[in-house]
């Protein structure tokens, strides 16, 4: 069968590379914050490859990805000339590893006293391996109230709302939903099929809650109406339990 609608082709792109010089997350965060603060618009949604070549010890890959995304970069993968085992480990954790055509660490100005260095390099594109099915979700954090008519979707993520969800608003997550306020609108957890997803809220007054396609309208929530609860699935049946 011919794939008329799609075609895979290789192209070269210039991507920004973030060279890590330390595995201390706090240092990386501080330096990254300083860098981004200088030109927030410039860095917004910039695809970023993280080089771990200069690291002497191992690092929490998931934490790095989360950190990068916190600063609104688009995380692409890791790079650097490292041992085969380490590449394998990275892949196994569900991250792509980007091979560089040539690495030139000497170009990196190591006299600069920052934990990170940015430098654009040309990378050879590669077809992304399909990551193994996993339920390691990161969090999308929304500060403030989600108002009527607004919709927030945390794709492949948990959703944390620091505020209330108004009636007529909709919060959707592929993972769990946490509402640290009143849940008055609709909450749909495990949206792409995840039966272990849960919904937590401080005050249940929802119009609808749904986990993995099983839903309740407000009339089914009478038992814990107005209480702090979490909602989960037990044998394809929604169950609500008091948080405290």
């Amino acid at each position: 069968m011919a794939d008329a609608s799609i075609e895979f082709k290789g192209s070269s792109f210039t991507l920004s590379v973030l060279h890590l010089r330390t595995s201390k997350l706090a240092d990386i965060r501080a330096d990254l914050a300083r860098k981004v603060a200088q030109a927030p618009d410039f860095f917004y949604l910039v695809p970023l490859v993280v080089s771990i070549e200069q690291l002497e010890c191992s690092i929490d890959y998931q934490a790095i990805k989360t950190l990068i995304e916190e600063f609104n970069f688009t995380f692409v993968g890791f790079t650097g000339s490292v041992a085969k085992e380490q590449r394998k480990l990275i892949r196994e954790q569900g991250f792509s590893f980007v091979n560089t055509m040539k690495t030139n660490p000497s170009k990196v100005n190591s006299s600069e006293k920052t934990a990170i260095v940015e430098e654009p390099v040309a990378t050879e594109p590669k077809t992304k391996a399909i990551p193994p099915q996993r339920h390691l979700y990161t969090d999308k954090v929304h500060r403030g109230q989600i108002r009527s008519g607004q919709q927030v979707y945390a794709k492949d993520q948990n959703l944390v709302v620091i505020g209330s969800v108004s009636a007529g608003a909709e919060v959707i997550a592929d993972g769990n939903i946490h509402v640290y306020g009143s849940l008055r609108g609709r909450a749909i957890a495990g949206a792409t099929g995840h039966h272990k997803a849960q919904i937590y809220c401080q005050h249940l007054e929802a119009e609808l809650v749904s986990i993995n396609g099983n839903y309740w309208l407000s009339e089914s929530m009478e038992q814990h109406w107005g209480a702090p609860v979490y909602i989960h699935l037990t044998d394809s049946e929604l169950t609500s339990s008091k948080l405290i």
Binding site: G144, Q145, R147, S148, G149, Q150, G163, S164, S166, A167, G168, A169, S182, R184
Partner: protein, 269 residues
């Protein structure tokens, strides 16, 4: 810099125009230079409430289209000289406004006025968006009933996402809650949402509570903003609103059911 205040609500008939007129006049009475703009193109009302409908020659749309100058269109209030009104057009529709020209008019007005009060049309369409786009502050007018609160919530979402301040990533619009047509008696009887209920749902600071009052209808028909009726509860409540807008701390009144005196109790008051 003038403070641009939009009086908005989402829902119609909750008292936006009444409140705009009362607040505009109240600020002017305090000695500030105020211009009231009617953004409700096609449903000209503000001039009626202000009692200047017979003096409308040119309107907002004429100014936008360059058919008249601002000075030709502005109507000076006869009661307070520091207040002007820019009336809406009765014959055009809301598409007659565009962001760029509205921005120019507001900028021009900002040079000579302290406050620009924009009376928004109801709804969430282009007209209402235009009224809130340039605002620095918003007075969200709400009746204590669920549909009005729901619509106000929707408008609050728009203020946070569709305004100029939101688009440019500036400090967000300052939001104020103005609860109108409040009847403590009906709240006590459980027929109406209480101030606390509304505050809890909308979670924005309370600017004022205007009690349901006969004086409002009387004032509207007479073209005398209710704030001039200093004997009425509604007039007093609007005066408190002005104090709070100007940064004073004033205790909220008219939240409790009034205790009847012995005479009115005897005669069924």
């Amino acid at each position: 810099m003038a403070r641009i205040i939009v009086v908005t609500s989402g829902k119609g008939g909750v008292g936006k125009t009444t409140s705009s007129a009362a607040i505009g006049l109240g600020l002017a009475l305090k000695g500030h230079k105020v211009v009231l703009i009617d953004f409700d193109i096609g449903l000209r009302n503000l001039d009626l409430i202000m009692g200047c409908e017979r003096r409308v020659v040119y309107d907002f749309v004429n100014v936008i289209n360059g058919e008249a100058t601002l000075n030709q269109a502005l109507i000076k209030d006869k009661r307070v000289s520091s207040l002007s009104i820019l009336p809406a057009s009765q014959t055009r529709d809301k598409d007659a406004l565009n962001k760029e020209n509205v921005g120019k008019v507001l900028e021009e007005l900002g040079k000579s006025y302290d406050f620009i009060v924009c009376d928004s049309p109801a709804g969430i369409e282009a007209g209402a968006m235009m009224a809130l786009y340039y605002a620095d502050e918003a007075i969200v007018t709400t009746n204590p009933e669920v549909s009005s609160v729901r619509d106000s919530d929707r408008i609050l979402g728009m203020l946070a996402s569709r305004s100029r301040r939101a688009e440019l990533g500036l400090e967000p619009i300052k939001e104020h809650l103005l609860l109108t047509r409040y009847s403590p008696k009906r709240v006590a009887e459980g027929e109406m949402l209480s101030v606390e209920d509304v505050k809890d749902i909308l979670s924005i600071p309370l600017l004022g509570v205007i009690p349901e009052s006969q004086a409002v209808l009387k004032a509207s028909n007479a073209g005398e903003p209710v704030i001039l009726d200093t004997m009425s509860d509604a007039g007093k409540a609007y005066q408190d609103v002005i104090e709070r807008l100007l940064g004073e701390t004033v205790e909220f009144r008219f939240l409790q059911v009034e205790k009847k005196g012995i005479l009115s109790r005897l005669f069924g008051g």
